[in-house]
Amino acid sequence: MSARPVLLEAQAVAKHFGGVKALRDVSLTIRQGEVYGLIGPNGAGKTTFFNCMTGLYVPDGGGFVFDGAPLKADAPHQAAERGIARTFQNIRLFGNMTALENVMVGRHVRTKAGVVGAIVCDRGTREEEAAIRRRAEELLHYVGVEDQADDLAKNLSYGDQRRLEIARALATDPKLLCLDEPAAGMNGAETEELRVLIEGIRADGVTILLIEHDVKLVMGLCDRVAVLDYGALVIEDVPSVVQHDPRVIEAYIGVAA
């Protein structure tokens, strides 16, 4: 496992909001092809870590090396261009666009038609547009919401919205897919479907970073797990080791009296 090349390396990433230290020099390494779990109690800094990585926050210290080159801070669209796609803890779809359009927007970074192309509507643009549509339809099918292609995204059921958001992220052809609590609010059957979907995405060669509270899902899916507590990295190891680490138990349950 350790023979796999490194895809993302976080180097002492720090972030504070006023006096609150949300991230304290977090360093971790994600390898190509693995499902990497990031867990920790509420407020541990998991989402902050995500936001720093995807450029929505500028870290106060440290940085990221992705796929061999440093990631630019404060440039979310470049993170996507480099191959990092994400979903959000509180689903952020384009509510008044159809499911299909949501995924088509996801192709934006991998296509290039500009204003002139759109106005003249030349052959290249038409072909690109058809390819965008085809790929979007494929992805809808892949995540299983093809029947809702023409429905407005906000009218989809909760589980379908989660899946659609994953399809939109996949539309950017990511190397690293970051899922922020994808199973939140899902019932057992939906979580199981999600697990199958994530397995499938991994099998397609996409590396996955997973923030999740559902311990069963994380332990079943992830190759390695990192635990954050109060913004600091507690442990980074395979699930079986993490599960029995006294520091992790302490972080979640507290110290025995």
Binding site: A85, F94, V105, I119, C121, T125, L152
Partner: protein, 353 residues
């Protein structure tokens, strides 16, 4: 009715073309004033479609849009009038007007990139006023805009020696100046409609829509929101610039007075009233809001005389009163606009359930 007027069917297309060709002659029977009103309706449709890109597609509330109309109008006025002694032809000035207005749009848009909603509206409102005040005061130390007096004797559009300001007889048909402008405007407007339509259903149009819906999500999937927003400002402004040029040529006179805040608000009202983001709706809004006040101007006095035997209320104030009431009624009963896009209608009807 929709089948008859469907431009995709041969019959529908023929009917539309015949109606568009015949319209200025029908209107001309009631006097050339009506043709002029018609021209303004198209000009405003032009402006409303430009603003629709910024407000309707990209969701950026711009209250200073008239500034770009002013830029286009003044550019024409300066390059084709005795003021500087320049008389460039229209095919040079119009593209230049679009370009200069587009650049102005991007320049004024740049400082507002991090603002949204109300804050964006206030800043753009300020920019609109700044441009007007500039036009008002750029007569000293070097006289560029001739200040509040404005610029007069602006060249009309002329194609191959055919001046659009005068009446000519072609093949036994008498065509007046306003009628010629009408055809020019219809041609330009068709172009603008096509451009709008194509942009809306393109990669760029989808990116605008995504920004309107959720800017953070749009960034996260790799849309360069800065560039895409600037593009919306520039595209919208360039339409304003072209409309401004035609306005200057048609009137033969420009002054800062024509570019006040109320004009920006009127154009925004056209977009909202017609159906934000929906091209046919925006055109309907522009035509109604141009023709209705004029029609009321002609109707207010005779109706009062017929009802009360005398004129009780001042026509001008009563006209605006009725106009305002009509706006309130439309917004109360058709909140998505008179002719909203199918999606938007769905969206609003679901909200009220």
């Amino acid at each position: 009715m929709s089948k008859w007027l469907n431009p995709r069917s041969g019959l529908g297309l023929t009917l539309i073309v015949v109606a568009l060709v015949a319209l200025p002659f029908v209107a001309g029977m009631g006097g050339q004033a009506w043709v002029r009103i018609l021209n303004f309706a198209i000009l405003y449709a032009f402006l409303a479609l430009g603003l629709n890109i910024v407000v309707g597609f990209a969701g950026l509330l711009d209250l200073g849009y008239i500034a770009f109309y002013a830029v286009g109008a003044y550019l024409w006025a300066l390059l084709a009038s005795p003021h500087f002694g320049l008389h460039l032809p229209f095919w040079v000035i119009l593209p230049l007007g679009a370009l200069v207005a587009g650049i102005a749009g991007a320049l004024l848009g740049a400082p507002t990139l991090k603002l949204r909603g109300d804050y964006l509206a206030i800043v753009t409102l300020g920019f609109g006023e700044i441009v007007r005040i500039f036009m008002n005061n750029l007569n000293a130390p070097v006289n560029i805009t001739n200040g509040a007096q404005g610029i007069t004797m602006i060249d009309p559009v002329s194609v191959a020696g055919l001046k659009f300001s005068a009446t000519t007889t072609l093949f036994g048909i008498t065509i007046t100046g306003p009628q010629k402008y009408y055809y020019l405007l219809v041609l330009l407007a068709l172009g603008v409609i096509l451009v709008n339509f194509r942009l809306q259903h393109s990669r760029i149009g989808r990116a605008w829509q995504a920004i309107r819906e959720d800017e953070i999500a749009a960034k996260a999937i790799g849309i360069n929101t800065r560039n895409v927003k600037l593009l919306a400002f520039a595209m919208g402004a360039s339409f304003g610039g072209i409309a401004g040029g035609i306005f200057a040529a048609m009137q033969g006179f420009v002054s800062p007075e024509s570019f006040s805040l109320i004009e920006s608000i009127m154009i925004l009202a056209m977009v909202v009233l017609g159906g934000m983001g929906h091209i046919p709706g925006v055109i309907l809004g522009a035509v109604l809001l141009t023709v209705l006040p004029e029609a009321l101007r002609y109707a207010v006095v005779p109706v009062q005389k017929a009802l009360f035997g005398e004129v009780l209320a001042d026509p001008e104030s009563l006209r605006m009163l009725i106009f305002g009431l009509a706006l309130i009624l439309v917004m109360r009963f058709k909140p998505a606009g008179l002719w909203p896009s199918p999606e938007r209608r769905r969206e609003l009807s679901e909200k009220t359930q």
